[in-house]
């Protein structure tokens, strides 16, 4: 008898049940070919290879560290490659209180990211200023940059952050290829003073 009963009844891993494969987009297939929409294929590829840029300023950043760790493992969603250069990243994850003095810095980081780019505001402070309803704190990062997904919580649990990333994945997968060229999108950026 082993003193600790971990792994004393190992299961045989079955590739059919333990490996998750991305779902095939709608299309026609036959012997040696598969025909589908290019936008679906690109959406599929983008969705499963989002590079996050963590902008972690306080306790939500600690929750994000747990999210990236092996227990919650954001890598399952194709986001294990955390980049610390805005120029290479797709998803800006703002986690924590953003002081007004930090606002221009955050904006600069956003401007340095290449299109297409997405933003997720994690936690009450990034979303609305949270409990810091005061002269020195930015009352939500959507005052300086556009935000795609808000994750509530103070701080949110890793499950909530993963849920937010999955909502981002939905947006990434279903976004029109032309969205970033539309007048509507330009007007959105212009409303933030971004040309």
């Amino acid at each position: 008898m082993r003193p600790v009963r971990f792994n004393n009844t190992p299961k045989e891993a079955l590739i059919s049940t333990s490996l998750q494969v991305a779902e095939l987009p709608d299309g026609h297939q036959g012997d040696g070919f598969f025909a589908s929409k290019l936008s679906d294929v690109i959406g599929l590829a983008r969705k499963n290879s989002i590079w996050p840029l963590p902008f972690a300023t306080s306790c939500c950043g600690i929750e994000f560290m747990a999210t990236m760790g092996s227990h919650y493992d954001l890598a399952r969603f194709g986001s294990e490659r955390v980049g610390f250069s805005p120029r290479q990243c797709d998803l800006l994850m703002v986690m924590g209180t953003i002081a007004k003095k930090m606002g221009p810095v955050l904006r600069q980081v956003y401007l340095q990211m290449a299109e297409p780019r997405w933003v997720i505001a994690v936690g009450a402070c990034a979303s609305s200023g949270g409990i810091f309803d005061t002269y020195s704190v930015l009352q939500g990062i959507d005052q300086v940059i556009p935000v795609d997904v808000y994750v509530p919580g103070c701080p949110p649990r890793p499950e909530a952050i993963i849920e937010g990333v999955m909502r981002i994945q939905d947006l990434v997968q279903n976004e029109s290829m032309r969205r970033r060229n539309t007048e509507h999108y330009k007007a959105l950026l212009n409303s933030y003073g971004i040309e």
């Binding site: 003095k101 606002g103 609305s128 005061t134 002269y135 020195s136 704190v137 009352q139």
Partner: protein, 172 residues
Amino acid sequence: MALTNEIVQQKLVEKFGDQLTHWEEPFGMLTFTAPKEINLKVLQFLYDDETLQFQFLTDLCAVHYPDKKGEEIAMVYTVHNLAKNIRVRLKVYTDAEKTEVFTTSALYEAANWMERETYDFYGVNFIGHPNLKRIMNVDEMDYFPLRKEYPLEDQTRIDKDDAMFGRDGRGI
């Protein structure tokens, strides 16, 4: 010979006489008030005098007393004699409308940033300061946030207008 509060007080009274008022010793720390016109002279004397030698500025800050008409802003200087390990606190009161006070940044290098901070939060105008501009808050801020007439909450905010956040229309 140990430097005591009595010796410090005696020295100061010898030099400045009745101009120094409100002598007290809260928690054993000698505290007194001077007219704001001679704040620099008093500190210079504390710095230069051979027995006093208060050559380290521990802290410099302001306090806002909105009910004290004509002397709403109190400037508090805490100076330290490092060799004898004794501290003295000097208070100077000024009008909230006319906050001109002489800078001590020529006497104490440490006063440079502390005076900028005090200007930033209380709007005290330090005459002769080499670089009197905001240090902690954003440059665009057009008020002095730690003055009591400004509520703690961010007044630019429009999504929180209920009583729970202190915005029930009463103002302050």
